[in-house]
């Protein structure tokens, strides 16, 4: 009985102190998926995000002297649990990181009402770039249409007309995420005279893509571009190896460049490329800090061999972007504790220059970019990463998307969304 009383007292104290702890600090929740079918790809990303914030707390005492409350809420990639997490965290949070196109779609319309910024780096809805329409959504540094454009630029050697007469297949997940680049590819195919062939992979067929690869063998496309996630990536790569599809003609989006997916095929995967807006830099100064303050201190959930992987380091970049947004807002409003709408201003006015990246110790991990009220993506371009049989290495110079072409597609798509969801408030004050 005494034990029970002690426990009760202890938990009562814990509740009180936990309540007190919540009151101060920057509440930054992350809707993680460390469980469920996509956990293998989720865990390194989530670890990277978490470790960067833990490093800031340990090194600088947070951001601007205020500790970061980095809370995780587990969704298992399920939309239903995602919305549950969003509802549970939105009260005190200054940002929401939905981490799935499905959850983003659900949360996006609510953010105008709840006035909370969505940070979806490199995912979500490409027209979110139009900050006048999507005031609360951010997907810097690159949208999916940017990715598609960079891949085409690389394939065409900078001149898209050279793709004329070629056949390009898009092996994509049959899901909002996988369908995202199709409008862009269709527009490009029409304008530049190449043949575009979308090959959907249903959620149930992710691990068994023999039908799709039979089609690829029959159609003999010049290039196969992959928009896959989770088990689909590993499935596609092993099928490609089995059907002996030339790996140097097989290119994935940034979510299809997970080290573990390629490690299973090892040498036979040599030549596979993945476009990426982040690049791993094992020797970056920031990595030394993370190793010293987080990893060696035993605060990290990551494994040793994970630290240099593409996804872990991308997680670091994502948290860095958020931290920069917070810092920009703190400087502008001259307040250490900022609220959601101040953070929105901060995310809209990020100016990540080469000097700033060097200061952060992250040179080369992400291209420099700047956001504005009209441009929520930054469109900073990226690099091709190539699998050399053991790891991903940068295999191209800095690639840029055709921003003008993309902008001409973004505007109408954003307007269409706003119209379908009327009444949709638009940022009238924004000039840019």
């Amino acid at each position: 009985m005494k034990k029970l009383t002690n426990l009760a007292v202890a938990s009562a104290i814990a509740v009180v102190t936990a309540g007190a702890a919540m009151a101060e600090g920057l509440n930054v929740p992350n809707l993680t998926y460390r469980t469920g079918p996509f956990a293998a790809t989720g865990i390194p990303l989530m670890n990277g995000q978490r470790d960067y914030m833990a490093m800031l707390n340990a090194r600088d005492g947070g951001i601007g002297g205020v500790p970061v409350e980095f809370n995780e809420c587990e969704t298992g990639y399920s939309t239903e649990k995602g919305v549950e997490c969003y509802e549970a965290t939105k009260g005190e949070a200054i940002v929401t990181q939905p981490w799935s196109t499905g959850i983003t779609l659900q949360v996006l319309p609510k953010t105008n009402v709840d006035q909370i910024p969505i940070l979806a780096p490199g995912y979500g809805f490409s027209p979110m770039a139009d900050g006048r329409v999507f005031q609360w959504a951010f997907n810097m540094p690159s949208s999916y249409w940017d990715g598609a454009s960079m891949i085409l630029n690389e394939l065409g050697g900078g001149d898209l007309s050279s793709l004329s007469g070629k056949k390009i297949a898009l092996l994509h997940l049959d899901h909002p995420y996988g369908k995202e680049p199709i409008p862009f590819f269709e527009a490009m195919a029409e304008a530049n005279g190449f043949e575009f062939l979308p090959i959907p992979v249903g959620l149930k067929e992710m691990q068994n893509q023999s039908a799709q690869w039979l089609q690829i063998r029959r159609e003999r496309p010049d290039y196969v571009i992959m928009w896959g996630w989770g088990a689909m990536n590993a499935g596609a790569i092993s099928e490609a190896v089995k059907t002996r599809y030339p790996m140097d003609q097989f290119i994935g989006v940034w979510w299809s460049g997970h080290d573990a997916d390629l490690a299973t095929v090892g040498e036979s995967g040599t030549g596979y490329r993945s476009i990426s807006w982040s690049a791993p830099q094992p020797d970056a100064p920031v990595m030394a800090d993370i190793r010293k303050l987080v990893f060696d201190a035993g605060d990290s959930l990551a494994a040793e061999d994970e630290l240099n992987s593409v996804f872990y380091q991308r997680g670091l970049v994502i948290s860095m972007i958020l931290a920069e947004g917070i810092k920009t807002a703190q400087d502008n409003f001259d307040a250490a504790e900022i609220d959601a709408s101040q953070l929105r201003w901060g995310l809209e006015n990020i100016n990540l220059t080469d000097e700033r990246l060097a200061e952060l110790g992250m040179t080369g991990m992400v291209p420099p970019f700047a956001t504005s009220c009209a441009n929520h993506t930054g469109h900073s371009g990226g690099w091709m990463l190539q699998w050399d049989g053991a790891q991903f290495v940068p295999a191209s110079g800095h690639l840029m998307p055709d921003s003008e072409t993309i902008a001409s597609l973004e505007g109408p798509a954003a307007a269409e969304y706003a119209e379908a969801n009327a009444p949709w408030p638009v940022n009238e004050d924004c000039e840019g």
Binding site: K110, I182, P183, L301, A420
Partner: protein, 358 residues
Amino acid sequence: MLFRTAGQFKTSYLKDQTLFPVRQDAILLGIILAFAWVIFPLTASEFTFQTLLIPVLVYSLAALGLNILTGYAGQLSLGTGAFMGVGAYACYKMITIFPEMNLLVAVLVSGLFSAFIGVLFGLPSLRIKGFYLAIATLAAQFFLVWLFEKWAWLYNYNASGAIQVPHVEMLGTPVAGPQAASMTQYYFVLVVVTLMTILAINLTRGTQGRIWKATRDMDIAAELIGINLLKSKLTAFAVSSYIVGVSGALFVFLWRGAAEPNLFDIPISFRILFIAIIGGLGSIMGNYMGAILIVALPVVLKTLPETFGIPISSATVEHLNVMVVGALIVFFLIIEPHGLARLWTLIREKFIIWPFPH
């Protein structure tokens, strides 16, 4: 003591046939209704509305629909998710084609589309039974979800292939879309669910319910006493799919706000089947109890460690949650295989004779 029935005399046949022959049952229901209609809405937070109250009602309604087919008429179905999808897409198309349409009417009409599709896929039930019928309804599941993906007209050619609920107003208040207040949505769902429950109780208590039960218990015997099996089975499919379709429309319009086709895939069908089985097949009340166990309990369990300040990571909580809920399901099915509703009946009987069991 609490449930003493002594002294409650029935002096007319009408009184003997009332819904609640025991007064305490009526009082208990009154209390529950008071909670649902007044106390919960007054005290609930946004989080409670969105993750506990509305989903429990929507899932209960879907399970109620399935229960009419499986629990009362004995036809096993694995296509519930797809029939919900039919209701949701029908409602979406109606609202986007006729934006002035009253949402309540749209929701109630969208059930008709689902009923029609349900009858269509129910036709094989005349020839095949049991597991074989379950496989036939599984075909509905696969086919319809495939259709939701491929038929772009259904989602208005949206590039992402998902449906987004537009802004809908009723009497000047937003009821669906991002601007709708949770309380409005809750009351909307509550009205529809109450309506459907009254309908279901009266249907299953009356002639039609008896016909279904006869079909369920032994179809040859039912046929011999003059029951038209074709009519009996198809009405069960129609009524069941109607309710399921209405719940699908509520699911998307009054709760989720957006839906992609694979939302209506097998996992949701199984989830609803579990709610119906654990709640109790052939019971109306069981659906609500099942939904509370399957839908609400995990949400409550998830918030417990944080409330008590126990520092475990969110992912571990999720793992624990799955284990606890799984263990509870096994536990309840072991102590009462006929579901929670039957468990309540037993407890109630004990209460009636308490403290003098014979």
